[in-house]
């Protein structure tokens, strides 16, 4: 090499080297030089806040790692949810990290959105507001989601400063008929609590209290206190409704009734109560009025109109009137087919008749969602806007363009010249897309606020992480723009502090810190006795007389969704990815149709269908399902957004759009059903369902046991020793589970711990919160609709749903995750030891060692291993949510449930520091942590005092496919079923 060549090579080499370096320096959310006081690298910080994914207002603890929230869990101190969270709460994080989040204000110019500055946006709002206020009263209006009391007060003040009435809280599911019925029956203008746990019999008329109704996490806990097998007995739950929700699937008997006939059944039962003399304690005039009004609700009418078998009706009557502490629950939030008010009123009156003290109702508990405006009022506002009576419309995190049917004219109203619509949304949703300016505000996990889901039990909100956008608090925006002079406070945080101080809640700074550490003011409210109120006989009789006959024939129903709620969850990828508990369908909302109805329409499973009604149409695949009454065509609300980010826009169909725009004059609520929809087959549809079969095919997977069989069973369980699927004994994953007759290899030597999970199927309600928590905790890839159809979902935990082949309305849920077998079929077949049995019994998957032969999943009898077919994508900023304690897996490796090994390791560290063994209950996997009914219990089988060790002695204990001698460490307790 000569000198010239050397210089050439050296020059080229150094240029190439320099060009290879990235010009973008690493961006970090925090600097160790100027780290916040409470941030320790590697240590999570927990901030108490309140979940705002639905109006229930559960308390949450947000887990902050290195400056970003990576997980939310329930706040154990919060009286509503007591440390538990539903799947929507788990997915709240994805709101902050939504890749389509709007980061700066924008002004719409024609079809183009032009980014503007924060000051310009606030200035526009101020100018428009003051201009409107100058033109006259009521020209500034605000439509908001249900908000906490202090913000509602501030918004009222702000609007008053603009010379306008208080904001309207808009909820898609506004409980109008229940509020009216409570007013008529109890004299209470609002929504009261239900003490499910005190009842021995629940009779529901559609209230899906385990799905979305009022406060599902709270009700799940209360429900299982009466309905879980306690060793001797369990309460009874009968659900009368046109279709199966998760709640109905948990009933001992789901009585399918024609939509709209819930009222007829309830009034029929009321009439029986009068007949058998249970109503003698009622005031004479009321009783007389009822006797007169209820005459038409004789048995024959009930049976004919509700389309229920007479034997079933007789059993319901017998059970209801023999119960000691029965509690009747009202209808769902969307009672279809008319008669919603009558059904709710009848349910209230039944409670009054069956228990004169009304002990099952908690009048001290008033749900905040009662502050939602009636649909009539919302429609009135829409009409005002359309009529040109409004100049400035403020929309706070609510989506009327999605929730109101097209006939309501909401789109026309927003498009009316002269009205300026400002949306405070962080996502370009259906309404925001039609607004004129979008001014994103801070999301709940970034805000200072207070929300009282239950009156008198306010939970606080505080920023749980640094802000990802410059968005201000909505309270600050209002304070800055609405008040020309005499601003009530400098900022919303100060306003809030003043509000709290005025109520005596916060006197000192120490009180403030305590309040925000514990997450709210949780002093138990005083017991409120039932109001001394006697229903007005004439009003009651009028409602009863107004009951219309539920005509036979197809009727279109929009059901609240346990995953999307009213549609606000549709942009959370986890909620799309975790399948619906009953249909096992992900990323879609198919039309649920009874097989008989499908046959009547000449439709086949897998058809794609067009439905027309009330001036709108939609297209969706069919899902043939026995869990709907033959007259009902049910579709879960929540999908079919025109805009709402990449996960929601254009996906599925919006069942609300088919409904009539008129409201029910009796209660001001929407008309939830649409009669005689027109169905046309338009081709082949593909349903993205996660299940392979709805039935167990006679296998011992999800097992139930009749209550009678357990009565008198003692500790000596029928552990009949045999080798068949039925007779194989429970073999614990411990040395005692090894038998030289059966086992070739010796037992594993475990050191101190043998982790195990006990799943009580009698407590599992199938809600899917565990699956959602698993996605959040373990960085599971979201695969999307196409991959879901291909069968590539990555769920480490699936809540499997099985139907009884003879009685398909009987649903069994079975959470299925890695069984951490002691004798694991996956371990022996891997050529490179990637599945590894550790000394605490965990079946660990060593990602770095895995070469992807996929023999393990082929040999796994439980099919719980998940292969990374691709490198899954987390669009920015979703990677900020990833749990730094859990590896993100690349393509080509196998993964599966690890029993949250990162939490076990954290438990080991804490125990080692304290020089003690890990205590029972100290380590909890994400699934067990969030389970609203505590169906999952995790612990150490080698500890004779641990909960899991005691639970495996239950006569109900069994192992799925135990006869393979895999010795699973996940031990199931059979579901206890009873006949009604």
């Amino acid at each position: 090499m000569n000198r010239r060549t050397f210089l050439k090579i050296a020059g080229m080499g150094s240029i190439a080297f320099a060009a290879g370096c990235s010009a973008d320096p690493e961006k970090t959310l925090y600097s160790l030089v100027q780290a916040p006081d409470d941030m320790v690298t590697g240590q999570p910080q927990w901030y108490a806040a309140t979940c705002r994914e639905c109006p229930a207002g559960c308390g949450i603890l947000a887990k902050n790692r290195e400056g970003r929230v990576i997980k939310v869990e329930g706040n154990p101190l919060h009286p509503v949810n007591r440390g538990k969270l539903c799947i929507r709460g788990q997915a709240a994080l994805q709101g902050i990290y939504d890749p389509d989040r709007i980061t700066a204000p924008m002004l719409r110019e024609g079809e183009v959105w032009r980014p503007i500055g924060w000051g310009e946006a606030a200035g526009l709002l101020r100018d428009r507001g003051s201009a409107a206020a100058r033109r006259g009263g009521g020209r500034v209006r605000m439509l908001t989601e249900v908000v906490g009391t202090p913000f509602a007060q501030l918004a009222t003040e702000a609007l008053a400063a603009w010379n306008a009435p208080a904001p309207l809280a808009f909820e898609t599911f506004g409980y109008e008929s229940l509020k009216t019925a409570n007013h008529l029956a109890f004299g209470v203008e609002g929504l009261v609590g239900y003490r499910l746990e005190q009842a021995d019999l629940l009779l529901g008329f559609g209230a899906d209290f385990l799905d979305t109704w009022l406060s599902p996490v709270e009700f799940a806990r209360r429900f299982k206190r009466m309905h879980a097998f306690n060793g001797r007995e369990k309460g009874l739950f009968i659900h009368v409704a046109p279709f199966q929700s998760v709640t109905a699937a948990n009933a001992d008997r789901w009585v399918g009734c024609r939509p709209g006939s819930e009222a007829v059944v309830a009034l029929g039962l009321l009439q029986v109560a009068l007949d058998v003399g249970r109503a003698d304690h009622l005031p004479t005039d009321l009783r007389a009025a009822l006797e007169h009004a209820l005459t038409p609700f004789h048995r024959e009418r009930v049976l004919a109109q509700a389309d229920i078998p007479s034997e079933t009706y007789d059993r319901v009557i017998q059970r209801l009137f023999n119960a000691r502490r029965p509690l009747v629950l009202p209808t769902s939030a969307a009672p279809a087919g008319g008669n919603g008010l009558a059904a709710n009123l009848a349910a209230n009156l039944l409670n009054r008749v069956l228990d004169p003290t009304l002990a099952g109702l908690d009048f001290g508990c008033r749900y905040r969602v009662e502050s939602a405006a009636r649909r009539q009022e919302v429609q009135g506002l829409v009409d005002e806007v359309r009529g040109g009576e409004v100049d400035l419309l403020l929309v706070n995190n609510t989506n009327p363009c999605y929730a109101l049917p097209p006939g309501s004219g909401v789109a026309e109203a927003l498009a009316r010249p002269g009205v300026f619509v400002v949306s405070f949304s962080n996502v370009m949703d259906d309404t925001t897309a039609r607004s004129h300016m979008v001014l994103p505000v801070r999301l709940p996990l970034e805000s200072w606020d207070l929300y009282d889901g239950v009156q008198g039990q306010p939970g606080v909100l505080q920023p749980a992480m640094g802000r990802l956008t410059e968005a201000p608090l909505l309270g600050d925006v209002l304070l800055e723009t609405a008040f020309a002079q005499g601003r009530p406070a400098e900022g919303y945080k100060a306003y809030l502090a003043r509000w709290l101080a005025r109520r005596g809640a916060v006197a000192t700074d120490a009180d403030w810190v305590t309040l925000f550490q514990q997450g709210g003011l949780f002093t138990p409210p005083a017991e409120v006795p039932p109001p001394a109120f006697s229903p007005d006989p004439a009003a009651v009789a009028a409602v009863v007389a107004a009951v219309v006959d539920p005509a036979p024939g197809p009727i279109w129903l929009a059901a609240p969704s346990i995953r999307y709620f009213d549609g606000r969850g549709a942009n959370r990828a986890w909620l799309q990815e975790v399948p619906d508990p009953l249909t096992a369908v992900a990323w879609q909302n198919p039309i649920l149709l009874h097989p008989e109805t499908a046959a009547d329409f000449g439709l086949q499973p897998g058809d794609r269908v067009r439905v027309e009604g009330a001036g709108a149409r939609l297209e969706a695949p069919l899902y043939i399902w026995e869990g709907v009454q033959p007259d009902a065509l049910v579709m879960a609300a929540g999908l079919g957004h025109e805009a709402y980010g990449r996960y929601a826009a254009g996906r599925g169909a919006n069942p609300l759009a088919l409904l009539a725009p008129e409201t029910d004059p009796a209660d001001g609520g929407p008309l939830w059903g649409l009669r005689q929809p027109v169905l046309t087959r338009i081709g082949e549809g593909v349903v993205a369902h996660a299940d392979g079969s709805r039935l167990q095919h006679g296998r011992k997977i999800a097992v139930s046991v009749p209550l009678e069989d357990l009565a008198g069973t003692h500790a000596a369980a029928p552990h009949a020793a045999g080798l068949t699927m039925e007779s194989f004994p429970l073999t614990l994953p411990l040395p005692e589970g090894y038998d030289p007759q059966r086992d070739f290899y010796p037992a594993h030597d475990h050191e101190g711990y043998r982790w195990s999970l006990v799943v009580d199927l009698d407590r599992c309600i199938g809600c899917g919160a565990c699956a959602g928590a698993c996605y959040a905790e373990n960085n599971l890839g979201v695969v999307g609709e196409r991959r879901m159809i291909e069968g590539r979902e990555m769920a480490w935990l699936q809540v499997q749903r099985y139907l009884d082949p003879d009685r398909p309305e009987r649903v069994l849920f079975l959470p299925m995750m890695c069984q951490h077998c002691d004798n694991a079929p996956c371990e022996s077949v891997c050529p490179v030891y990637a599945p590894h049995h550790d000394k605490e019994g965990l079946n660990n998957q060593i990602y770095n060692r895995c070469i992807g032969t996929r023999f393990c999943v082929q040999n796994c009898p439980y099919k719980v291993r998940r292969f990374n077919w691709f490198t899954w994508q987390w669009p920015d900023p979703l990677p900020l949510q990833l749990n730094p304690d859990v590896t993100v897996r690349a393509k080509g490796v196998m993964e599966k449930c690890s029993f949250c090994v990162q939490r076990i390791k954290a438990g080991h560290n804490a125990a080692k520091n304290a020089k003690r063994p890990i205590r029972d209950g100290e380590v909890t996997p994400a699934c067990a942590q969030t389970c609203p009914t505590e169906a999952l219990v995790f612990g150490n089988l080698m500890d004779p005092a641990s909960r899991v060790r005691r639970m495996v002695d239950d006569p109900r204990a069994y192992q799925v496919m135990g006869y393979l001698n895999t010795k699973p460490a996940v031990i199931y307790l059979k579901k206890v079923v009873q006949e009604v």
């Binding site: 392979g692 296998r699 979902e793 050529p831 490179v832 070469i851 992807g852 082929q858 080509g892």
Partner: protein, 431 residues
């Protein structure tokens, strides 16, 4: 064989080594194009992920392993013909032994690619080798896949050596007639063979020992491959019949592939006097025998499923003939066990079109046998919620085309450049 002399044998075989014509090179180019297609598909899969294939949960093994088992099966009859029939002194094997052994070597090579293609992380495949490392991580010799690594590599080594040993005297014949560069090449390849008494003595001894050594391998390799399945717990896999069943099936498919290859070969190379109808007829008779074993195995599986009272076994054996993949099942049954029975009729087994047609049917049927075993069993195994179906993707078809192209590409190159009939062994039959 009376018309054959040493000279005519040499001449007929050596004529095939004349430079190929335009049609030959066109064929080679087309096959090479197929190989490139397969390589491109594999490259794409490596970059994007195994998800580009049609596999899913629960069917995590698809056409890659079907093709693997298929090609390993094809590889069987070569050694059967050259080793076992050699030991049994079945004279009719001599004309086809060379081609069959060649088929074996190339089929094993093709088969050996598929486990790599199948892997999620093919670039980490060296983890399967017992390499010393600081973490003392060792391969898991409990795993049937490790058995495979050992069995297949042993089989490839032994069958290659056996094949090469048999080639030696023929290579020397070619060397003696060749000129120029070819002479140099064949001089090296024939390892200095001069045909001395000592050479012949060592050669025949060595050949016999190799035959004896290779014979158990014929049985063991496919037995080991069958344990990939039989050692699993999956209903439809977990059965003791698998080893003999797979070996019989492998020989069945291998013999059919021999017919598929020999019939065009004898036509193109005018081997009619060497590879006589009698030879083909003998292969056909053996196919009848293996077909009956395979049919018996199918029947046994159904009987045992019924007899076991195990609902899962019963379900899967009801599912195969009636479920989603029933077409594959019936192709398998008809092609493997029924159509070969036509060879009972002498006019059929002596008719060249019938022989070719039936042999192709058996090849198709045996491919479907592996499809039925691999796919249907896991598609409907223990947990009904996890059940799923499988459809091969375009990438899988591309790789399958690539594998067939590779096999025929190598075989076509061989027959035109090496003696595809063993002149030495043909001459033995003349004495």
């Amino acid at each position: 064989m009376s018309e054959l002399t040493f000279a005519t044998i040499d001449q007929t075989v050596l004529d095939t080594l004349e430079p190929g014509g335009r049609r030959y090179w066109t064929l080679i180019a087309v096959l090479f194009g197929g190989v490139l297609l397969g390589a491109a598909c594999w490259t794409y899969q490596i970059f994007v992920g195994v998800g580009v294939a049609g596999m899913n949960n629960p069917v995590a093994w698809g056409t890659y392993l079907i093709n693997f088992v298929f090609w390993v099966g094809i590889a069987h009859s070569g050694t059967l013909i050259s080793a076992i029939l050699h030991l049994f002194r079945a004279g009719w094997r001599n004309p086809i032994a060379r081609a069959a052994e060649t088929m074996t070597v190339f089929a094993v090579c093709t088969a050996g690619l598929f486990p790599f293609i199948h892997l999620g992380r093919a670039w980490m495949v060296y983890y399967m080798l017992p390499l010393p490392n600081q973490r003392n991580l060792w391969p898991n010799f409990q795993s049937p896949l490790m058995f495979d690594v050992v069995a297949i590599s042993t089989y490839l080594t032994v069958s290659s050596l056996f094949w090469y040993t048999g080639l030696l005297p023929d290579l020397a014949i070619v060397r003696d007639r060749a000129t120029g560069f070819r002479r140099q090449v064949f001089s090296v390849l024939s390892l200095g063979w001069t045909g001395r008494f000592e050479h012949w003595r060592h050669y025949t001894r060595g050949y016999l020992f190799f035959a004896a050594l290779a014979t158990p391998l014929v049985i063991s390799v496919h037995s080991v491959v069958s344990w990939d399945f039989a050692l699993g717990v999956v209903p439809g896999w977990h059965t003791t019949i698998f080893a003999p069943y797979f070996v019989a099936g492998a020989i069945h498919s291998g013999l059919a592939m021999v017919l598929t290859l020999m019939i065009p070969l004898r036509r193109i190379f005018q081997f009619e006097k060497i590879i006589t109808t009698h030879v083909l007829e003998s292969v056909a008779k053996t196919i009848v025998f293996t077909g009956l074993i395979v049919g018996f195995a199918y029947g046994t599986e159904f009987f045992i499923a019924w007899y076991s009272h195990n609902p899962l076994e019963q379900y899967i054996f009801l599912y195969r003939p009636t479920g989603d993949f029933r077409v594959g099942f019936w192709i398998m049954v008809v092609c493997n066990t029924m159509i070969p029975l036509l060879f009972f009729f002498k006019p059929v087994r002596t008719s060249i079109p019938w022989l070719l047609g039936i042999s192709i049917c058996v090849n198709v049927g045996m491919w479907y046998e592996r499809f039925v075993i691999i796919v249907t069993s896991v598609a409907r195994d223990f947990i009904p919620y996890a059940w799923g179906l499988f459809t091969p993707s375009p990438v899988e078809f591309g790789i399958m085309i690539g594998s067939f192209s590779l096999f025929f590409f190598l075989f076509c190159l061989f027959v035109k450049h090496m003696p595809s009939v063993s002149m030495t062994e043909m001459k033995e039959t003349l004495e």
